[in-house]
Amino acid sequence: MNGSINASASMGGATIGAARVDLDSVKKWYGPVLAVRGVSLSIEPGEMVCFLGPSGCGKTTTLRMIAGLETPDEGEIRIGGEAVNRLPPWKRNVGMVFQNYALFPHMTVAENIAFGLNMRGTSGSEVRAKVEAAMAQVRLADYGDRRPSQLSGGQRQRIALARAIVTRPNVLLLDEPLAALDKKLREQMQVEIKQLQRAVGITTVFVTHDQEEALTLADRIVVMEEGRIVQIGAPSDVYERPKSRFVSDFIGYTNAVSGKVEAITAGRARVSTASGHAFEVPAGEGISAGDRVDLVIRPEKVVVDPANTDGLMVLDGTLVHTVYTGAVTYSHVDIGAGDVLIAMSPNAHGEAATAPGGRLRIGLRPDTMLMFPSRG
């Protein structure tokens, strides 16, 4: 692809920094605020992990503790098996890409990339060779003499990436590196970062609050809420089998109806809703008959006007409104008593025919519904 980083050019031959990273009950206070409340996590060598969560949940703080820019108040951090709690950042051999890139404005692009090598006492000719290779790798070979201020956002991003990996760090840390880029460039850079990460095989921690970015990039997603990890898993795990209502809402559309558990028999719970429907869904742990619950389903698992109703539970409803997004349309359907389910349908044959206010049939498999205790 035209806009991809030259992933086949390895960083000077050897594979770099595939170190294991362990966090063990790590806590961090800012004054009276407990920003990170006991995070435990093991990141495999060469793995790419995304920290995902809402603003203020402690993603940056955790990342900065791995970098050594903050010191944990409790717990231990190990890089490559070695405890690094007392090690300053300059001795940790990590590479970090900051949200605003933090390129040195008083240095040229080449000097920026060479900085880490110079600090390590690498010889002049080796520095030049490595800087050139790194610039070629991020496709900015001719930009060495420019100042960071003379680069576009995407180019700065690439230089920051080149600067972070040219020293062959043990771990690469990225704090929302794409947040400042527009959508198109962001998607392109996601691909480039992933390719580069694969090519150099570096253990990577990526912070984002963009769920799509996390799903695209991560080998594993670490979902955080209020300083805690609430779920760790592969993207499909986290998306298909969220452990809590919070995770399911944070990753993907909120699409839920509330009801009451009537009975639980043979691993299936019978949930009745105010709209007069009864859903037979897989029973979850810690839920018993009589509990108020929310049933959550992904919009793409709700079919509009199903032709083949085999194994589907069919509901009649009224179309409240539609959200047209180009490739797909989201139909908000009132199934009675104000319960609204969102159905996603591909716009394969042009736009949907039903106008808001019209009757609409939707179909879903109750098996694919997730049951969580009602909030409040």
Binding site: P89, W90, G95, M96, P105, F115, M119, A164, T167
Partner: protein
């Protein structure tokens, strides 16, 4: 016309008359401030033997007298030496202190900052007397090193202030990036922070050089025979002979200062340091 009148007038919708009054007011102030210059410079080229204005003839004789008098050259040398060394020392200590004060939060930080700044507002006469009393038992009275210390006391706040101002502008993430790239605190300061503080350091150096070269009150308590700065020597001279030599020296200083300020302004924009 008072300033408050002029300012309130300028708020009127059609403030042309008010604005005109304000401009006039500003011009008068500038004229008043510059008046000594308009008198001193012509006097320097006077052929009269006394300080009478306007001068009756043109000559360079007072410039010649200035150069011929050993004490002025010696004093200028000492003043320049003091100004340069005090400035360098103040810049080094000031920039490091600024990093400590801005980047690290420790108890007593605000108090310390205030203590550093006191020489700016402390009556110089008290400071001079105090230093003289302190230096006397230490053997630093009538001593170059004592003088240097005293000049550092007055130039340091300026260097610290301008350092603080530019350091606030330096993104902390740049230093953190340097740390993660393997630079320890000192190397980060040396290769990242310090170069980015350059405008503030240059401005601080300008202030510091001028303040030190110009220093009179404190120096008077500490200097002595054989250890005279230019302002003291000029003052001494006027006690015995009130001729335009003083005006000639002032003119030379004026030219040097103007050139220095223009150069610095070109380099960094001195005006920014006041905004």
């Amino acid at each position: 016309m008072s300033s408050s009148e002029a300012l309130s007038n300028s708020h009127a919708p059609k403030a042309t008359s008010g604005e005109r009054a304000l401009s006039l007011y500003v011009c008068l102030i500038l004229l008043f401030l510059a008046l000594p210059i308009f008198i001193v410079v012509p006097l320097a080229f006077s052929s009269d033997a006394s300080l009478s204005f306007p001068p009756h003839g043109f000559s360079f004789r007072w410039f010649v007298n200035m150069v011929n008098r050993q004490e002025f050259l010696r004093a200028a040398g000492l003043s320049a030496m003091l100004a340069v060394v005090a400035t360098i020392c103040s810049l080094i200590v000031g920039s490091l202190a600024a990093v400590g004060l801005v980047r690290y939060h420790f108890p007593g930080r605000d108090t310390l900052l205030m203590v550093f700044m006191t020489p700016l507002i402390f009556p110089a006469i008290v400071l001079g007397a105090g230093l003289a009393l302190m230096f006397s038992p230490l053997g630093l009275l009538r001593n170059f090193w004592g003088l240097l210390l005293a000049h550092m006391v007055v130039t340091f706040p300026y260097c610290l202030r301008t350092s603080l101002a530019t350091l606030h502008e330096v993104d902390k993430a740049l230093e953190e990036a340097a740390y993660t790239l393997g630079a320890n605190r000192w190397r980060t300061f040396r290769h990242v922070t310090l170069p980015l503080m350059r405008p503030g350091l240059l401005a601080g150096a300008t202030f510091s050089l001028i303040i030190s070269f110009d220093e009179f009150t404190i120096t008077m308590f500490l200097a002595g025979p054989g250890l005279m700065t230019l302002p003291l020597e000029m003052y001494n001279y006027t006690e015995f002979s009130l001729d335009p030599t003083i005006a000639a020296i002032s003119t030379v200083l004026l030219i040097i200062t103007s050139i220095a300020i223009v150069i610095i302004e070109k380099l960094v924009g001195l005006g920014k340091q006041f905004s």
